[in-house]
């Protein structure tokens, strides 16, 4: 297993290197951060001084390898704005983001899988049409709009739930629902198509012909065979959500990585942006490795290849 894991690890390293490089280039391609930090009033002398201080006067290649070296040592640099370690900043927001992502992915998986399974079992019937419409809706409603509507109706109008910021569990509900709609819709569609496909397989007819009941056929034969693409998608969505839900956190003033990203961009805190991208990429790659391992447990045919 270890030996066959090696190519995957190599792939992961290449992915990370690409992400890290793109972060480095983007931070420098979008204008001079020092000039924007100091504003128009700064003199050329001041600007030069700060540039030298940050090491930005060195050749790009030198900066790049310096940056890579720091990442390898686990040093994500110091924030230009907060003057503390970027790693500490990320760590302080991690719990909030993780909580929101976990809640959203749980809602998304439960609702998405239920909806998709019902749709597949009643393909072409009314249940299916309703489920497909809901999924389409979930995929096309912009999260910021849905978030604002929920705040206006549920929080401000009905006063059932708080409108923003973290705190008790009730603070979590609206942002989690908002954040879950897109993954829910994607998971529902994937579940539907995957189950529909498996239901056509001769081994399903064969299981029914042996006198197995619907529940057994669905749970033991259909679910396990339809699970792989759904698990993969859930993993991808988890990776996306974990690295910060920028819009939803912004709308609900949720103190997570998404809000930190918004602030970092607003203040052109390019070391923090780089740190966030590196963190997001590492999270994403790790989640993917976990997905590969889970899939190999679910499907004995893949076991040999991992």
């Amino acid at each position: 297993m270890i030996r066959s894991l090696l190519p995957r690890l190599a792939g992961a390293v290449v992915t990370l290197l690409l992400a890290v490089t793109i972060a480095f280039l983007l931070a420098r391609a979008s204008g001079d951060p020092v000039r924007q930090m100091l504003g128009d009033m700064a003199s050329q002398g001041q600007i030069e001084a700060v540039r030298a201080d940050l090491g930005l006067d060195r050749p790009l290649v030198v900066q790049y390898f310096d940056y890579l070296g720091n990442i390898v040592r686990g040093d994500l640099g110091t924030s230009l704005r907060y003057h503390t370690s970027n790693w500490d900043l990320i760590a302080s927001r991690l719990a909030a983001s993780f909580q929101l992502a976990a809640a959203a992915i749980i809602i998304g998986v439960v609702a998405g899988v239920t909806l998709g399974t019902l749709a597949a079992m009643f393909e072409g019937k009314r249940v299916d049409r309703v489920a497909v419409s809901l999924a389409l809706l979930g995929q096309s409603v912009p999260p910021f709009w849905l978030g604002i509507m929920l705040i206006v109706v549920v929080a401000v109008g009905l006063r059932w739930l708080p409108a923003g910021q973290a705190g008790s569990w009730s603070h979590l509900i609206l942002p989690a629902i908002t954040l879950s709609t897109l993954p829910m819709a994607r998971i529902a569609r994937m579940t539907r198509s995957s189950i529909t496909e498996v239901l056509e397989e001769p081994y399903v007819a064969s299981a029914r012909a042996r006198g197995f009941g619907t529940r057994r056929v669905m749970a033991r034969h259909v679910a396990r065979n339809a699970a792989i693409p759904v698990i993969t998608l859930v993993g991808l969505q988890t990776g996306v959500l974990l690295s910060g839900a920028v819009t939803v956190e912004f709308v609900f003033a949720w103190p997570g990585l998404g809000t930190l990203t918004t602030q970092a961009v607003a203040f052109r805190d390019f070391t923090l942006i780089q740190a966030l991208v590196v963190f997001g990429a590492v999270t994403f790659v790790l989640v993917n490795l976990v997905v590969d391992i889970v899939n190999s447990v679910v499907d004995p045919r893949i076991r040999g290849t991992l």
């Binding site: 007819a205 064969s206 012909a209």
Partner: protein, 289 residues
């Protein structure tokens, strides 16, 4: 394969050995697909008034070109798709109006073998685990035989048991499918093109297995095929289907030897290995090991 006995010779005896008890009686079976009066769709009539019967220990063939309704007939007789009208009797008992739950019980009596043996096996389930599942669902029906005995009776070694479907050959997979049916001691086995996905060299062995099970357990077999040489090799009687209707039936030799209906004549002319003794020669390994 250990002993390969001449199939053809066996059948000649088989005809006379059959128990006259009728296991399957299909009367005026009709199956329609996709009609919707609301949306003004005309239904496709896939099976249009088919009647036939099979006695214990008899192998009855169902032939006809693609789309003539053979598979639909099989699925409807096994109640895997709804019948539009007509009756199906299993051992004298009308099963056409059983509820799904009652039907699940009756399923151990009527088993199916499909064309694509790998497709008919859950890719994630080992042979042993699939047998265990059948045993769990039909506890009382399955304890007459051990897994090892079962494997031996379908001509497989017990080494197969821990394997996953992708780790066995097509011929082995088809034997596993037959074992999954046999473990239930069915009274009827419906085999829908059981050999057409298999290597020619393996086809004869699977047919030979089916006719051996018929001999040993008195199972009634409905063998669906578009290959007339297959039908000629193992079937006692044959029904010829065209566009959802049985156009000709009778003893295999007479139907294929002196076809009466123009469609049968055309079928016999057009399909390979159908005529006379050529058919026997077209099965390379039957009986000559």
């Amino acid at each position: 394969m250990s002993v390969a006995r001449p199939v053809i010779a066996e059948i000649a005896i088989g005809v006379h050995l059959v128990n006259p008890e009728l296991v399957v009686e299909v009367h005026d079976l009709r199956v329609e697909f996709g009609g919707s009066r609301l949306r003004g769709h005309e239904p496709v009539v896939a099976v249009d008034g088919v009647s036939f019967s099979i006695a214990a220990g008899e192998i009855v063939g169902l032939v006809g070109e693609s789309g003539s309704g053979k598979s639909t007939t099989a699925m409807a007789v096994a109640r895997l798709i709804p019948l539009s009208s007509g009756t199906v009797k299993l051992g004298g008992r009308d099963i056409s109006n059983l509820t799904q739950k009652q039907m699940r019980q009756a399923r151990s009596d009527i088993q199916l073998i499909f064309q694509d043996p790998h497709g008919a096996l859950d890719p994630r389930q080992s042979v042993a685990s699939s047998l265990r599942e059948v045993r769990r669902v039909h506890t009382d029906r399955t304890n007459w035989i051990t897994d090892a005995e079962l494997m031996a009776s379908v001509g497989l070694s017990s080494d197969i048991l821990p394997r996953l479907p992708h780790e066995i050959s097509g011929g082995q997979a088809q034997r596993v499918c037959i074992a999954q049916s046999l473990i239930l001691r069915p009274r009827v086995l419906i085999a829908d093109e059981p050999t057409s996905a298999l290597d020619v060299s393996v086809q004869a062995h699977v047919l030979e297995l089916l006719s051996r099970l018929r001999d040993e357990y008195g199972i009634a077999v409905l063998l669906i095929s578009h290959d007339l040489s297959v039908v000629r090799a193992v079937c006692d009687r044959v029904h010829v289907m065209q566009l959802g209707v049985v156009v000709e039936s009778g003893e295999t030799e007479s139907v294929l030897g002196t076809p009466q209906h123009s469609y049968t004549k055309q079928l016999v002319r057009s399909l390979p290995g159908a005529r006379g003794s050529d058919a026997r020669n077209s099965f390379p390994s039957v009986g000559f090991s």
